[in-house]
Amino acid sequence: MKKAIPILIAGLSGLLVLVALIWQPQLAGWLEVVLNWAVIIASVAALVAMATLLLAHTRKIIMVRHGFIYSVILIGAFLVSFVGGMTAGVENPSYLRWIAAIQQPAEASLLGLAALVMAAAALRLFHQRGWSALTVSFGISALVFLVLGLGWLQALQIPQLDIVIGYLEALPLVGMRGLLIGMGLGALLLGLRIVLGLERPYGE
């Protein structure tokens, strides 16, 4: 019985949302309530997860475990930005400027680093994956889109060439649409299994 309660709750909340979507005007009020609760719970879940993370790092500092210095950095940075946000206000331009001063360069550098790492990884692409319909078409397609990315062919302004470029740029539509439909079917069936209680991501 104890195990059945979460299954029932998941099933009922999912069904309520689905039914409310079909009978929209009549059940719109209930849908609003359910969504409101869901957003609150998701936000509290984020705070709880964050608290668990902070507790784990605090334990690491207290027990002076290997690499505790990084935990000091994490908790120190957390406290500074959290206390700053709560006292100055999260929309305070000065506060936001300091947050941006750290987030922006750190994240942009990580993304930039990904470009360097990709270049190194691409060197071993065919050694790692071998030759196949997938890798050959991938390699040729990547080369074509790199050439198009240079913008030199477009700058020639030859109408026939522009038509060919148009076709080439639209070609990935086929694969992308097929992949999206396939992924959509997978997601649809996963959603149905959750509502029916056949899949229990909240644990047994």
Binding site: A28, V39, L96, A108
Partner: protein
Amino acid sequence: MEPIVAEVGMQPEVSVPPEESETAEEQRVAQDLLLLRSQKERAEVLRNLIAEEGKAFPPAHKPKSSHKSWYRLVIGLLMLTALIGTLLFVPPPALKEGAVPAHVIALQEAMQALGAGDKVLVVLDYQPATSREMVSMAAPVLQFIAERGVSWQLLVTQPSGLWLAQELASTAGITPIPEAIYLPGGNLGVFALAIDQNQSSPLLPSGLSALNDYRAILLLEDSGSQFQVWMEQASPWLGKGRFLALVAKQDAAMVLPYYDSGQVTGYVAGTQEGALMAQLLGQQPMHLPHERALQVGLIIMMVILILSMITKAEADATGRRREEKT
């Protein structure tokens, strides 16, 4: 052509059906004993754990590359040097006219159809990492909207959007900087916003109208899956022709099917198309990330991919020759 198929997980593999005798044996035992459900479950756990012991597994997949990462360092440093050199010594080229893709023209037409009194919702849904690319596309479009006298609002869906909105507005030279409205809840928030016609939900921030009241919703996106959330949770509730998009180059392929199906009226992907769009709208294109450096980076990747093909072909030929000799 087999290895890659197996490698990426598309090779048909076969499962072995459980032996029937085993099942029958279990049932006999269960019938003989009167067990509580919890006891049965615990017995099942133990049975599984014991079954794991001594089970034959093929060896774990190890990366084929050497642990030494010297080639990574060499390529990384070479690339950095080439890019820094280009930035320091090569002036950026003048913007050239080129063929304008159909989706850019579609966006331009949708933008020019906007007039004073129309309401536009600008949704800022990108990460700080891609802000330079997004700002270079979005700033001229915002300037155009502001000049037209269109009434517009800035909606942000993630916390960092609060400062990204300030950065975008100040780069576009829009004063006073408009207040960014934060929509919590991720896809739940997007859905709540789309279905709420009366603005009665406490979830929705004040100052925001129902989505149907906006003539256009301009998405600034750098994530394909986040873009998909808008298409799935919001677009079915609105009529066609509402969504316009400015997306990072990485999402160009993701937007294609949604543009083809009419769920997005027009879009721009990447800084090059962004500059074209700015020209079409009669705005000054933003200072792009140095275009010559971008071209150098693209050429380096082309060379690397070609080298990868050549070295693999060479390795295969050597392998074949060795086999023939033996």
